[in-house]
């Protein structure tokens, strides 16, 4: 499990990125490989229902032991893991890229299906997929629109870009809300999920969220938490997506920021940040002291003169974050999506 595998996150035909829950490649239409049937870990029957209960012996087998790994480049990766205590992974993640745009643009999504709601994993997957699809469409259109020439020419004022991005985020969350609300079948605990989504375009970062999944800016200096949890003192959520959510009264929140330094945008579920709530702690996990010491050695040798040494693959870094949470007990599902921002001016 510690070895890295780039599994079904890329289309086997055209190598374009796939979203969690995709059944077909968005680019070329090739069907995604369906997950192989898993056997009951108690009696061996190939008869697990969607929640992992065996239709033969009744016992539940852990589901989703293969962590979901997404990677679109060395600079951007996501990992979602069941953790050690839960029977299901009810988190969902998605990564989007517009490789043709110059500069590159990115979309990151983390959803955490709310455990007390019905079919929370469906809520999370549908929310992540819907937000992803919505952003793919709306931002692609704005990037290609000839009227957006100024956008292409990078002369758009940051404020204008912010409002464009926030508009796209808001619409994507509205669509996700409609989709998740549709999952409800009249039950008292309708499917529900948190969501945090970030779009990065031309050094402008916009984040939207509902619930307690977080976004952080992590850097050698100036790390900070970008979102504020929608939860009360008893850690009960106060905002979410789902049939019993009221987005008029409890709307999503947005934050924008210009990224002027090198660092990381991290989106994660509480399965990670519960063990490391402070941005400095998360930075420490990405840059453990031994790595810092090695970098210092390099400095002393004069082998490098910029402050930003060649960085490891973000897939390895997300694995570090998940491993850390598992080492602390892994009580909840753990998800992290990481994007490296490299400042070129050094």
């Amino acid at each position: 499990m510690q070895t890295l595998q780039i599994s079904s996150d890329q289309c086997s035909h055209c190598n374009s990125g796939l979203l969690a829950g995709d059944r077909f490649c968005e680019t070329c239409g090739t069907p995604c490989p369906s997950p192989s049937p898993t056997a009951c870990t108690h009696c061996g029957a190939l008869a697990l229902d969607t929640e992992g209960f065996c239709q033969q012996c009744g016992l539940r087998s852990p589901q989703g032991d293969e962590p979901l790994q997404l990677q679109l480049s060395l600079d951007c990766a996501g990992l979602s893991d069941r953790g050690l205590q839960r029977y299901l992974n009810q988190d969902a993640i998605a990564i989007l890229a517009w490789p043709d745009t110059q500069p590159e643009s990115w979309g990151l999504v983390v959803c955490d299906g709310i455990g007390s709601s019905a079919r929370a994993e469906q809520a999370a997957q549908l929310a992540a997929a819907t937000v992803g699809e919505s952003l793919q469409a709306s931002l692609q259109a704005s990037f290609q629109d000839p009227l957006q020439k100024q956008f292409q020419a990078q002369i758009m004022l940051p404020q204008t870009l912010d409002s464009l991005l926030v508009g796209c985020l808001g619409r994507s969350l509205d669509q996700a809300q409609q989709a998740v609300a549709h999952l409800a079948q009249g039950e008292a605990n309708a499917p529900a999920t948190t969501v945090v989504v970030a779009v990065i375009r031309d050094r402008q970062l916009a984040v939207g969220w509902l619930g307690d999944s977080r976004a952080y800016w992590l850097a050698a200096q100036g790390s900070c938490q970008l979102t504020q949890d929608h939860s009360d003192a008893a850690h009960r959520l106060t905002r979410w997506l789902g049939a019993d959510a009221d987005l008029h009264q409890y709307p999503p929140q947005f934050v924008c920021r210009e990224l002027l330094d090198s660092g990381y945008v991290l989106l994660c579920s509480d399965g990670l940040w519960n063990y490391a709530p402070e941005p400095e702690q998360l930075w420490q996990i990405l840059h453990p002291p031994e790595a810092a010491a090695a970098a210092a050695d390099l400095d002393a040798d004069g082998a490098r003169d910029c402050a930003w040494a060649p960085e490891p693959d973000t897939a390895i870094l997300t694995q570090r974050l998940i491993d850390f949470a598992r080492s602390q007990g892994g009580h909840d599902n753990i998800s992290a999506v990481l994007l490296r921002i490299t400042h070129q001016s050094a």
Partner: protein
């Protein structure tokens, strides 16, 4: 027209201690109707109602006059979608009115025939039921309901024949049984009603017959779904200890299971109206798991059958989770506790009345005292009231009672007949159980 939807909800404490193997769960099934212009498949089925009236010699006098009046009123109450028939029961079952639509003309002609009824002969109930079943075969798609009225005991030579006829009638129609006066046998009528998924009650005075028939007819007219089965799936190593309806009345369904596969079986629940709620109590014995294991110990679904097509209309899951946390595994779900209490209440009454019959007054007092205590604790005021006719209550909370000296036979029979009527959990006083 109304379209009916069903919902099922399970109440249980899924946590079991290490080695724990008994899982209890209460499933509440609720139907609710919504008026629709273009009804789908689950719309109203036709109704065929059978009136089965004892006309043996003992029914003569006030009883037969009241029966004529009550049947006349019942027929007048039948909704237009219904058909009906009338069987007269004595040494054999005679068809007085064959299956007829509940039109004005049909009703008038039937009522004219009913005026001619006189009482003579014996009581051979098997023949009455056989004649009824013949009529019900004329409309196999209809909601089949019958009301059987008698005042006496079945002929002792009819025992074997009755058992056989009941087997044939099971699942073909539902039959409510009413005993008028006190000359009939509670166990005998209960056995018939239970086999045919109906209710049993006493009509102490002939004059009360009209109101009782009206209530039954009103209920039958509200039934819109012909047949619903309760399908229970369990894992391979799990045994169903029992499956009971526990509200509004206790009906043990365990022996009515029709096995489909080694892991699933159907229990009949009869016809449903579009606005009612029933509770079922499952007790399952599972193979103990390890601490931390989770098991799907049962999956109960409601299956409606229409024109031979099965449709799953609601589903609920029963879980088992093994834990070493005693605080979790020792908790008893309030709904389960209430159902267990109501079952003990019914048993205590039954045993108390039997002890009294045998002349064991000490045992009778102890059992009926316990019943008073349970009725009080659960807020089952209807049963508490019936108990007060039999015992003088000194302190309900502790179950301290004295047997009354002069007990009317009708009161003892009413208590025996209605002892299985249950009180649902009282949500206004949470945490009390």
């Amino acid at each position: 027209m109304t379209q009916t939807t069903f919902s099922a909800e399970v109440f249980q404490n899924p946590y079991l201690p290490e080695q724990g193997e008994e899982v209890h769960a209460i499933m509440t099934v609720t139907s609710s109707g919504e008026a629709v212009e273009h009804p789908g498949p689950a719309s109203e089925a036709p109704l065929l109602f059978g009136l089965i009236c004892d006309v043996s010699g003992s029914m003569g006098g006030a009883k037969i006059l009241a029966a004529r009046q009550a049947m006349t009123q019942a027929i007048e109450l039948l909704p237009p979608r219904a058909s009906f028939f009338v069987i007269l029961g004595s040494d054999d079952g005679k068809v007085l009115v064959p299956t007829t639509p509940a039109s004005e003309a049909g009703k008038a002609s039937a009522i004219a025939h009913i005026r001619t009824i006189t009482a003579q002969g014996g009581t051979v109930i098997s023949s009455w039921l056989a004649a009824s079943q013949q009529e019900f075969t004329k409309q196999p798609q209809a909601i089949a309901q019958a009301l059987l009225l008698t005042d006496g005991q079945n002929d002792s030579s009819d025992e074997a024949a009755l058992a056989q006829v009941l087997k044939q009638c099971e699942g073909q129609f539902q039959c409510h049984c009413r005993g008028v006066g006190t000359g009939w046998h509670v166990k005998e009528l209960k056995a018939i009603a239970t086999a045919l998924l109906g209710s049993t009650d006493i009509i102490p005075e002939p004059a009360q017959m009209v109101a009782d028939f009206q209530a039954i007819l009103g209920q039958a007219a509200r039934q819109t779904i012909r047949e619903i089965k309760l399908r229970l799936w369990t894992p391979s190593s799990t045994e169903v200890v029992y499956c009971k309806q526990v509200s509004p009345e206790i009906v043990d369904l365990t022996d009515k299971a029709l096995s489909l596969t080694p892991q699933s079986r159907d229990y009949p629940t009869g016809a449903w109206s579009s606005c009612e709620s029933r509770d079922y109590h499952f007790c399952l014995r599972v193979q103990p798991g390890k601490v931390g294991d989770e098991m799907l110990a049962g999956r109960a679904s409601l299956v409606s059958i229409e024109d031979g097509v099965e449709t799953k209309i609601a589903e609920a899951k029963v879980l088992a989770i093994w834990t070493d946390d005693e605080a979790r595994s020792t908790k008893i779900d309030r709904h389960v506790a209430n159902a267990t209490g109501q079952a003990e209440l019914a048993d205590s009454i039954q045993q108390g009345l039997e002890a009294r019959e045998r002349g064991n007054l000490e045992a009778a007092t102890a059992k009926l005292g316990r019943a008073v205590q349970l009725a009080q604790a659960s807020g089952n005021e209807a049963t508490a009231k019936l108990l007060r006719q039999i015992v003088e209550v000194e302190d309900a909370a502790s179950g301290t009672v004295k047997l009354r000296r002069d007990i009317a036979k009708a009161d003892a029979m009413a208590l025996e007949t209605r002892s299985t009527k249950t009180q649902r959990i009282q949500l206004s006083s949470p945490g009390k159980s």
